[in-house]
Structures are given as structure tokens and as C-alpha cells.
Amino acid sequence: MQRQGMVSIWFFIGALLLAYGVLILGAALFEGPSEHPVVLAELHAGIWWGVLLILLGGLYTFKFMPGRGK
């Protein structure tokens, strides 16, 4: 739905995913190992998932940014 002047829900989702992507990527790159043993830690899932969230979140944030024409 999109009432006059209302920010799209997809923008909120995009912004949150973008923030999550940054946090998860940052944690994967800069935080130490997990306190509990993680199976297949060598896959570095945090890096891949963080990048995915940044791309997805960035796309939705940009596409549904308030003020951007329909």
C-alpha cells in the first residue's frame, strides 16, 4: 500500500537489512571467535551473509527511498 506521503514498508525493511548487514559483516571481520564452538566456521558464513544483507538492504533502501519518484 502507498498512501500519499507514506514511506513504503520496503524502505524500512531495506534500511534494517542494510544496518544488519553492516553489523554482521563487521562482527565476522573484526570480532574474535565465538564463545561456543561453531561447526563449519571455516565457511565464514558471517561474511557472506553480511554482504548479502548489505546488497539486499541497499537495493531496497535505494529503490524505495522517500522522495524518489514512483
Partner: protein, 574 residues
């Protein structure tokens, strides 16, 4: 449908140390989620002025938003964790609750039933019963729905808080109050509009938070075939990976059920009842902006529902394949200090997720809880305000007054739910009874609504007495088996039947009682004139043609595609 098997069983959980420790970034992710949902609630308050806005989100939702919200309202935390546990216990049979126990009903709602809900302009399912069968049917349905909704909400709340205690060591009262006050604030401010917006957000988070478990798990096992091979190796002589081939008899599968119970009890009655008459989910669909969007919404929901086993059932199966310890039922877990089935999802989360991803996974569980609870309280607020308060207490107030009542009712609904959660904390056995109570109304209600929509000859007296008789017969059968467990051989047609089979057969019989009584009483009473049935019943309602639309824009086309995919899945996992 919520996992009837489920979580509620505290004793084992209380005995264990917590499973996980969150890092700073995990806590930041969870905190950000709370900020986001509250922010959306405050933002949307300005757009929620009239009763139509508050209770039906202005009837302006697109098919996508209504469809995702329709599904998210059902995807509560019990749904996620309960069915992951059920998958560990029963294997892939648990997927029936996502496939035959959902897809046909969702498509039936979209193609057959939605036109009547939508064209009649009703604001609720009890509201439809009022239009079709009169005030007594509405009153019976509204009061039972309202009471059961807040009770269920409290049970979900307690179960979620319990998991947070076990998984994270959070104080149970803190979890209950923090999550429920958040839901009360954002639903109270923005009504259904806010609930729906947040449900779409929660839907995305649930998927992104839970999907990783299945992806990494399948990498660990070397794909689906590797997982199946490991399950056979770990559990010789038991079949956890076939959907239909073990349903020939009650004794051939771990669920103790046969195909008749699954097809007719689950697929034809319980699932149809839940997805087509439970106002919690139907409310999302009738908020759509036009009839075509309303028809498409459940079809979109069905397409995603078909994929949910990937994030719920697959983790349970993976646990069968990779966990070194064997999880048990609650009683045994209490005795041994081990883990129970219901902890599968958090255990798998802990297995594969490090800092950051763990926070996202926990956020997915919290989001699941909140979407389920928001669904309950927003539906409760609507039914209370329109079908009880306006119908029976104050008929002629202003629209502003009803909106205000809706906001207060949201807060009261949450408080009553919290009260129920505390009650459950003290008397755990209540949980079993309330879950059963909820199921008493669903199957007969489907019989009443279906006959109301499809059969012109159904009369108000037939509708009311059929609903009452169906409900009473369901309660009677439940009490009979409780008092005399051997009675299950009559209710479920086999002494080898287990609880799940009893639920399915009880639903089937109560639906049949409802239909038979409705038909008999209707034929014995005076028919309603057709002029009173316009826009309510098949044959008296002009449903707009979609013939002018290109094929790919017609709901029936997409429903057909989903149906084909559903059949293919049954064959693949046969």
C-alpha cells in the same frame, strides 16, 4: 496452525544451563529490531484515524503486503520451534502441516471464499455470520474467538519467554513484559496497519535469520541425499524421510496416524477451518485494496508457505542427521538432564551461527513471536469492538469512539494475555486444555461458513444449531477420551492411533455433525428469501469477471501454478 505438539513443557527446560551466550553485536541486532518495530508503530499512528484504518488498515493493502502478512501472522514462534521439534520427532511427516495441511485450503480461500468475504464488506468472520445467519451465530462465534485468541496469545507468550530463558538465560518475566509491551505499543498506535507493516518486516527477518541453518546444515551433510543417508545410519529401521508411503497404517509411522486422518481430518477439515475461517489470518486478506488483490493474497501466501519447511522441517531433519546426542520427550529430558525435541531450532542455531548471525537468528525467533501475538491482539481488538461491544453493548457511538475502544482493547488484550501467561506458569496442564479448546471451534465453524456461502437453503436456525452441535460434539469427544483413554479406538477408528490422529478424527466428526445438523435444521425451517442473501451466497452474488485480464494477471492462473508445484512436491517426497 500452531504446533499442537508443542513447546509448553517447562520442567525439562528449567533444569538446564542456557544454550547460548550473546555477544555485543548480537544484542545490538536485537535492540535495533525493537527500535524498528516501535518506530514503525509511532510513524503509522498519523495514518490511523478512522475505524476502517485501525481495524482494516484502510482496505488499501497490495496483494503482496496482504499475502506476506497473512502468512506471517501464522508464522509465530510456536510454529517455528514447535514444528522443528515435530520434524525431529516425526520426520518429514511434519511437512504435511505445511503442504496438504495448508496449500489446498489457502487456494480454496483465495479462489472460492474470498469473494464472499470481500463483496459482503464484512469486517470480520463473526461479522459475516451476522449477515448470513443472524445475531446468535455471530455472538457464539465472536465470544469463543475472542476468549480463545487472548488465551492462545498468553500461551505463546509464555512459551517464547521460556525459550528465551533456556537459550539465553533471560528472566522469564522480563521477556514476557518486554515483548508484549512492544506489541501493545505498536498495535495500539497503528492498529492493523502497523501490525501488517511489522508482519512483513518480521516475515523477511524470520526467513533471513532461519534460512542459514538449513543452508549450512545441508553443506555439512553433503546435500539432501547425504542427510538422508546419515539419518538412516543414525536411526536404523525407522523411516523419517517419506511423506506418504508410511501412511498405509497407524503402526507404520512415528506419528501413529493413517492417510485418512491426514487427508480428510487435516487437509479437508482442520486446515480448511483454520485458513478460511480463523479471523486472525482472514483479517489480513480482507484488508486488501480490491477483490483481485484479496484473491491473490492467499495464493502468494500459499507459494511462500510451501517453502517454509525449508526453514522449519529441514533443521529438524538435519538434527536427526548431525546431532551426536538423541533428543527425547520432555519427561525423559527431565529425568536425564538432556535436551528435548523442542530445543532443536535453538540448538541448530548454536551449532552453525557465530556472533552477529546468532543475533539475527534470535531476532527471527522474537519476530516470529511478535508477528503471532500482533495477529492475535489485532484480531481480538476488531472482534471485541465490532462484534461484541458495538453489537451488544453500545450500538450507536461515533467512529472515533470505536477507534479509541480498539486502542484500549489492544492494551487490555495484551494484559489479559500476560495474565494467561502467568496462569500457565502456575498451572502448566492448562496449556493442553486451552490448545484443545481452540481446536473445538475451528472445524465446526468451517462447516457453518462453507454451507452459509455455498448453500442458499441454509437458514439462520440451521447455522446456529449446526455450529453449536459441532462444537459440543467436539468437546464431548475430547472429554470422552480424557476420561476413558480406550475410547480413542472409537474416535480415531484404531486402538493404535495416537494423540495426533485423535485430533484429526475429532475434527472430522465434529465437522460432519455440524454439517448434518445444519442441513437437517435448515430443511425443517423456513428458507430465507433470496433478496436477503445477495452478496453473501453463491448463486446470489455477482462475482466480477476476470475475463478481460491477461492470463498471467488472473488469480486462478497463479493458483493453478501453486497447485502443480504442490503436487510435484508430494511426488518427490512420496
Amino acid at each position: 496452525m500452531q504446533a499442537i505438539t508443542a513447546l509448553p513443557y517447562a520442567p525439562a527446560l528449567f533444569l538446564q544451563a542456557r544454550l547460548l551466550t550473546l555477544s555485543g553485536v548480537d544484542i545490538a541486532i536485537i535492540a535495533l529490531y525493537f527500535v524498528a518495530v516501535l518506530g514503525i508503530g509511532f510513524y503509522l499512528k498519523r495514518y490511523t484515524k478512522t475505524g476502517e484504518d485501525f481495524f482494516l488498515a484502510g482496505r488499501e493493502m497490495t496483494a503482496w503486503v496482504a499475502g506476506l502478512s497473512f502468512l506471517a501472522a501464522n508464522l509465530g514462534s510456536l510454529e517455528l520451534m514447535g514444528w522443528a521439534g515435530a520434524a525431529y520427532q516425526y520426520g518429514i511427516l511434519a511437512a504435511h502441516w505445511y503442504w496438504i495441511g495448508a496449500i489446498p485450503a489457502m487456494l480454496f480461500l483465495g479462489i472460492v471464499m474470498i469473494p464472499f468475504y470481500y463483496i459482503s464488506k464484512t469486517h470480520s468472520v463473526p461479522g459475516y455470520l451476522k449477515l448470513r445467519f443472524g445475531e446468535p451465530s455471530r455472538a457464539l462465534s465472536a465470544i469463543s474467538f475472542g476468549a480463545m485468541t487472548v488465551l492462545m496469545s498468553g500461551i505463546n507468550m509464555y512459551s517464547m519467554a521460556l525459550v528465551m530463558k533456556v537459550v539465553l538465560g533471560w528472566d522469564i518475566r522480563f521477556s514476557i513484559w518486554a515483548s508484549s509491551v512492544t506489541v501493545a505499543v505498536y498495535v495500539g498506535l497503528g492498529g492493523l496497519l502497523s501490525a501488517i507493516f511489522n508482519e512483513v518486516l518480521q516475515f523477511v527477518l524470520i526467513w533471513l535469520g532461519a534460512m542459514l541453518i538449513s543452508i549450512i546444515g545441508l553443506i555439512e551433510t553433503g546435500g539432501w541425499n547425504g542427510m538422508v543417508a546419515r539419518i538412516h545410519q543414525n536411526w536404523p529401521g525407522q523411516d523419517y524421510t517419506h511423506l506418504w508411503s508410511t501412511l498405509g497404517s497407524f503402526t507404520d509411522n512415528p506419528m501413529g496416524i493413517n492417510w485418512i486422518g491426514i487427508v480428510f481430518g487435516l487437509g479437508a477439515v482442520i486446515s480448511m477451518g483454520y485458513w478460511t475461517t480463523d479471523f486472525l489470518v482472514v483479517q489480513r486478506v480482507i484488508s486488501a485494496k480490491d477483490l483481485r488483490s484479496a484473491k491473490l493474497a492467499p495464493i502468494i501466501g500459499a507459494a511462500f508457505k510451501m517453502c517454509v519447511p525449508f526453514i522449519v522441517i529441514v533443521p529438524g531433519l538435519l538434527a536427526l542427521a548431525v546431532l551426536p546426542e538423541h533428543l527425547t520427550g520432555e519427561a525423559q529430558a527431565v529425568a536425564t538432564g538432556g535436551h528435548s525435541y523442542n530445543e532443536v531450532l535453538p540448538m541448530m542455531l548454536a551449532r552453525y551461527c557465530g556472533p552477529g548471525l546468532l543475533g539475527l537468528g534470535i531476532t527471527a525467533l522474537i519476530a516470529g513471536f511478535m508477528s503471532g501475538m500482533a495477529g492475535n491482539v489485532s484480531a481480538f481488538a476488531t472482534v471485541w469492538t465490532y462484534d461484541i461491544y458495538r453489537a451488544m453493548i453500545r450500538k450507536d457511538a461515533t467512529d472515533d469512539h470505536y477507534v479509541s475502544m480498539g486502542r484500549w482493547c489492544t492494551i487490555v488484550g495484551v494484559l489479559v494475555s500476560i495474565g494467561t501467561a502467568y496462569l500457565v506458569m502456575s498451572f502448566l496442564s492448562i496449556m493442553d486444555y486451552v490448545q484443545a479448546l481452540f481446536s473445538f471451534f475451528i472445524a465446526p465453524l468451517f462447516g457453518t461458513v462453507l454451507l452459509g456461502m455455498m448453500w442458499k437453503r441454509a437458514t439462520p436456525a440451521g447455522g446456529f444449531w449446526g455450529l453449536l452441535a459441532g462444537t459440543a460434539s467436539s468437546i464431548g469427544m475430547f472429554a470422552w477420551v480424557k476420561l476413558d483413554p480406550s475410547a480413542i479406538q472409537y474416535v480415531a477408528l484404531s486402538s493404535a492411533a495416537k494423540d495426533m490422529a485423535e485430533n484429526m478424527y475429532r475434527a472430522l466428526w465434529s465437522w460432519m455433525v455440524c454439517v448434518l445438523v445444519t442441513v437437517a435444521v435448515s430443511l425443517a425451517t423456513r428458507p430465507q428469501p433470496e433478496s436477503e442473501l445477495v452478496n453473501l451466497v453463491y448463486g446470489c452474488t455477482k462475482i466480477p469477471s476476470e475475463g478481460h485480464l491477461p492470463v498471467y494477471q488472473r488469480p486462478i492462473f497463479w493458483a493453478g501454478l501453486v497447485a502443480v508445484a504442490f503436487v510435484i512436491l508430494q511426488i518427490i517426497f512420496w
